[in-house]
């Protein structure tokens, strides 16, 4: 016998099926009035029992500085580390020698939401977001460009609990 398997005592030929049926019916009837576990989704998105984790990794968001420009300095670390190769970055440089992204696109269909881009970013510019309602009418709308990434307002993922970085 496998270790840890609980063997139930099976009813033999002497089992009472009428009694068992009545018991079952009483049980299902009592369930009619028990509290329901369903969450009314579009209206109710979190409850006491369930809320989206702050570590949830959803669609990206690019943070901006005070002038409303993307914090990204086009260092190229995120396309480098991205395992799904979903980030397209073309760097540019202005007269003062500040680098900025000319093109910054994330293909959310290719993305595997690992969160490496956020972890690797030295400027804390690109983040994965706490967000999950992403429906669109066409496939090409899922390639988010820089403007769209900057316009997102949803909260960003903290990837780990800051007070417990090793998950202990």
């Amino acid at each position: 016998m496998t270790i840890g398997v609980k063997v139930m005592k099976r009813p033999g030929a002497e089992a009472s099926y009428v009694l068992a049926t009545l018991k079952g019916m009483a049980l299902t009837f009592s369930h009619l009035w028990r509290p329901k576990v369903t969450m009314q989704y579009p209206e109710e998105k979190s409850s006491k029992e369930w809320a989206l984790s702050p570590r949830w990794r959803g669609t990206h968001r690019m943070l901006t500085d005070e002038q409303g420009r993307a914090k990204c300095v086009a260092c190229g670390l995120c396309p480098q580390i991205c395992p799904a190769n979903c980030i397209k970055l073309v760097p540019g440089e202005d007269e003062q020698g500040n680098r900025y992204p000319l093109i910054y696109e994330i293909d959310e269909f290719r993305c595997v939401f690992c969160g490496y881009c956020q972890e690797v970013c030295p400027e804390e510019a690109i983040h994965v977001g706490v967000h999950y309602e992403n429906s669109e009418y066409s496939r090409d709308r899922f390639v988010y460009d820089l403007e769209r990434l900057c316009a997102q307002t949803h909260p960003v993922s903290s990837l780990w609990d800051p007070s417990d970085p090793k998950g202990e």
Binding site: G12, A13, S16, L19, T21, M25, T28, K36
Partner: protein, 391 residues
Amino acid sequence: MTFFLVSSVIKILVVFTALMVIIALLTLAERRICAWMQDRLGPNRVGPQGLLQPAADGLKNLVKEETLPAQADKVLFMLAPAISFIPALLTFAVIPFASPLPTPWGDVDMVVANLPVGFLYILAFGSLGVYGIVLAGWSSNNKYALLGGMRASAQMISYEIALGMSTVAVLLLAGNVTLTDVIAKQSGSLFTWNVFPLSLGFFIFLVASFAETNRLPFDLPEAESELIAGYHAEYSAMKFSMFYIAEYSNMVTASALMTSLFFGGWDVPLTSWDSTPPWTLLKTAVTFGSFALKTGFFLFFFIWVRWTLPRFRYDQLMALGWKVMLPLALTYLTVIASAIWFLHDRLGWTYDARFALTLFGLNVLLAVSLLFWLDRGHIVAGSVAEEGGRA
């Protein structure tokens, strides 16, 4: 004559419409009650409390693609849903659902057709329903559908015998096969409701009608887990919907039949005000409410049982039908017929509460002894051997 024609046409239209609406709501009731029993909410989005869900489902089924299997027998494939759908609706025609309605032109019986052979009509059309299922299963040219159809025919034939036998006792008490007379005979007092003098007969009828309507625990013709969807595996859109409607209208008819045969039909208990002329509109309304309440309870009971019990195995189904239900019904009929003969012919009692309660006592004796004997592994053979025996 004109009055009869006009009133009949109106009754047909009203009853048909009401029946279709009830069936539609029943599909919703099934889903919501099932959900509540599983601690969910069920469909509650379309309309208030999901009341328009059946309309949405109906609309969806109307615009869905009709599929026609290439190797199917086209004529029978198209015909089968209608063959199961029409008898299911027809059976309701002879069930009286309220006391007669007075109109300026005379009283109108609240039954679509007050047939003198009402009960035989129900049995006849009840057994026609199986043709639709068997033909659907055969004409689909699909092995699962065929198995479903075969199961349905075997099951229906097996349980129809017990069903018929259990109702013979009712007819013995009523001395008539007209449903209006069967109801009139029961309206004397609460205890003359046939469920008291014939409680075991009611139990047999209840189990057999679950089998006849193909409801769980007897839904072997459909058996999702074994036969995909059994006889209607190949059907789509409105044709599939018609099988569904047929199933639910069979349920409504079976519930109405239980009400009429065993629970006094539209009789309001503990008063004779409702079952004596002069008829008034109020009496019709109240008695209809009584009928609806009783039938509604049995409809709930059908749903309740479905979401409680698991499906029988096929050999259990057959064993229960032939080795338990049939001998039980036959023996019961013999005992009850002898008792009625003794009380009626030997002691000269008329049918009243005393007569009914005496029979009820006999039923209790029979039930206690039978259930003690039968309930120990004889009704349904377990799937395992006795403790210590070989499995």
